[in-house]
Amino acid sequence: MNALVQTLPRVSLPRVYALESKHEFLRLLRSPSFAVPTLMFPPMFYLLFAVLFTSGRGDFQANIYLLATYGVFGVMAPGLFGFGVSVALDRERGWLTLKRAQPMPAGAYLASKLVMAMLFATIIFATLALIATTVGGVRVPVASWLALLIVDVLGVLPFCAIGLFVGTLVNGSGAPAVINLIYLPMSFLSGLWMPLTALPAAVRGFAPVWPAFHLGQLALAAVGQPSDGTPFGHIFALAAIAVFFLILARRRLARST
């Protein structure tokens, strides 16, 4: 045995990932242009259209339907904007280059943004759930709440991939505009603001193209609302979309050295 064996200090990877994620979350929480719409719009819309001005015709349960779909509308934002805008800014301003030069573990950059997006998704779920159970009068089984939480939190992933890809294409000032052009029309065309049955047949037929449609159907199924297709089909579509955009983004990032 060598008496001089010493334990060399090592980098604690969990600590790196934890700090990176915490700071990414704080960074975006402190950006009003991101945090205010992301955290305020879903509960605001829910209060307006599911609680105050609910139509309540027939068997359409606006309070439950919109809890599911505004949740999806809400969690798309941290994925699309959180990734899209911050990646575009980091690239443009040289922060990403410095991080790649520093001995940052390769996965920490994206992992921290994923955690950030999932934290925002959790907060959005919690605020909507709070409003829904209090003034919204929603009563669904605990299993449904859990299922909806899982759908919302994991549902950010495909939108993170799309946001990441957009972030590799455009600069920081152009990113919000591009993402809004994707975000708002897709939400509408996927039946997140009103049921697809209230929309023209052409829109309905085209809906399966949008990732937001698949996530919306999963969320509706989670809270026991009528939904199209099978959970497996939706999950497969969302996973395929996530992988597709992740590959595109990786190619873009590799080329922009």
Binding site: L8, P9, R10, V11, S12, R15, V16, L19, E20, H23, L26, R27, L28, R30, S31, S86, L89, D90, E92, R93, G94, W95, T97, L98, R100, A101, Q102, P103, M104, P105, A106, T257
Partner: protein, 299 residues
């Protein structure tokens, strides 16, 4: 291939790198050793940034090798011995300085104490502030703090003192000198030639993708025979400028400034022709003059 103590801290070997038809680096050899500061100088577009990005593993050479401590810069364990300050590193505006520092320190196995880091970079009053609220000079100091936070054995400083006031620049120079004295290897690029003159053990001049001069500051300066003579004299501008060894001359009232390759000859003639000549001063060309001359030759 494992790195041992004998490998240079940073090394480029016969490196070529093209961007399309343009050769950014065209066969460059470069070594930086422990305990020395190498200043890499060159006009804009000479290939300095490319050299740094190859050494940091941000891009790969078309041919040749970039090595840190004898290993590929892509190896994470090797980069854990390296500190980096890049020319543009716009950190998130809403992050606090303390957060940026904690994050960067976490990448390194044996980082400097926060207090030590903060004191060396002079950012004690900035820790609680958001990065976006800082002045350009304050941001530069924060970037320096991050660069040294990992107790690096090799430090890349790309234009470190741009935007700094005189006092902060001096403080930073002292910090860099202390690091080099402690055995750290430093690769510095700068547009301020007085900075290279003040800090560099060695200078390498890059022009059009090639190293066109390399040596100590004294050696580089000696490559240029030019000297500068100042004096007060009653002689006329026309008379002096007609002398064989005078390269250029300018006059401000009765004060002359003469640039020459042969100061002794010109001084002898000055004293002979104007016995009342006063305030005579002879100065060797600075690094700035040498740099201009070397890069013009290379062009």
């Amino acid at each position: 291939m494992r790195g041992d103590g004998l490998d240079p801290s940073a090394q480029l070997r016969a490196v070529r790198k093209h961007y399309g038809p343009i050769a950014a680096l065209d066969g460059v050899d470069l070594d930086v050793h422990a305990g020395e500061l190498l200043a890499l100088l060159g006009p804009n577009g000479a290939g300095k940034s490319t050299a740094i990005s190859l050494l940091l593993g941000l891009s790969d050479p078309d041919s040749g090798q970039a090595r840190l401590f004898g290993e590929s810069p892509h190896v994470l364990d090797v980069r854990r011995r390296v500190g980096v300050m890049l020319q543009s590193a716009g950190m998130p505006d809403t992050s606090k300085v303390s957060e940026l520092l904690a994050q960067t320190r976490s990448y390194y196995p044996d980082p400097l104490d926060t207090d030590e880091c903060v004191a060396t970079a002079g950012i004690a009053d900035l820790l609680g502030r958001r990065y976006g609220k800082l002045s350009g000079g304050q941001q530069r100091r924060v970037q320096f703090a991050l660069a040294i936070s990992g107790r690096p054995q090799l430090l890349f400083l790309d234009e470190p003192t741009v935007g700094l006031d005189v006092e902060s620049r001096q403080a930073l120079w002292n910090a860099i000198r202390a690091l080099v004295a402690g055995g750290c290897a430093v690769l510095l690029t700068t547009h301020y030639l007085e900075e290279a003159e003040a800090l560099a053990d060695r200078v390498a001049v890059l022009a059009r993708g090639r190293i066109v001069a390399e040596g100590s500051v004294r050696e580089i300066r000696a490559r240029v025979a030019q000297r500068r003579i100042r004096c007060v004299s009653a002689l006329t501008l026309e008379a002096i400028s007609a002398w064989p060894d005078v390269r250029s001359i300018c006059r401000d009232g009765d004060r002359f400034e003469i640039v020459t390759d042969s100061a002794e000859t010109v001084v002898r003639q000055l004293l002979r022709e104007d016995t009342r000549l006063s305030e005579l001063e002879v100065q060797r060309a600075g690094l700035a003059e040498a740099f201009v001359e070397i890069t013009q030759e290379a062009a």
